[in-house]
Symmetry: C2
Subunit: 97 residues, 2 copies
DNA sequence: GGTGATATTCCGTTGGTGTGTCTAATAGAG
DNA sequence: CTCTATTAGACACACCAACGGAATATCACC
């Protein structure tokens, strides 16, 4: 979800990612800080994001994360994996399998 | 997934639940034993399942778990929750929101 | 100087992973 | 017929990953 948000919006800082995800999901995807920031660090560690300090439009320092090429590839893979798994679970819950 | 399996098939023992889930998902849902058995105990603890020792058709002792009424209600709730969440994530990954 | 935006860190809890072990039943070798 | 190997089935345990919640730090702005 983080990768997808950055893919849609371009580079964003953590606070904005959380706000965006909460907003577009009507509150269903509320990342709390203790979940989001370690996740961002793991993603950067894996080379899927790159973070840079910069100044926001309201003139505050914030760490902006951008997708790397590997991050875009990973996002595509995750999308596929999600689609496969969601289809299976959906069918299972419908009793179709 | 465990609740749904018991709902479809009636009372089953853990080994059969795992085999069934692995089979209907083409291997995508492989519960390993250290995941499944604690999960069954938690579900029983919460009153969603009831377990009884019985003899299988190949004459071995096994613990058969059956859905309780509360288990059926929980399954319905989980199905709804899944549908809502899956729709949101699907739309998110498509960039539709 | 208080408030809000943004980041970081800590710690407790939950739950999965992997592996090992126990028991009973059956199949197969001799 | 007896001994052994294998399988089905359940469970225990130690380790690890990730989440939740909250505290804290910094800085800009009104």
């Amino acid at each position: 979800m983080v990768l997808q948000t950055l893919n849609s919006l371009g580079p964003q800082h953590g606070y904005a990612i959380a706000a965006r995800l909460g907003q577009v999901s009507g509150g269903a995807l509320q990342l709390n800080m203790g979940t989001l920031y370690p996740a961002l660090m793991r993603l950067e560690q894996r080379g899927l994001l790159r973070g840079n300090w910069a100044i926001t439009d309201n003139n505050r320092r914030a760490r902006f994360y951008a997708l790397t090429a590997a991050g875009r590839r990973e996002l595509a893979k995750e999308r596929q994996a999600w689609d496969r798994m969601a289809a299976i679970i959906h069918a299972l819950l419908r009793g179709e399998i």
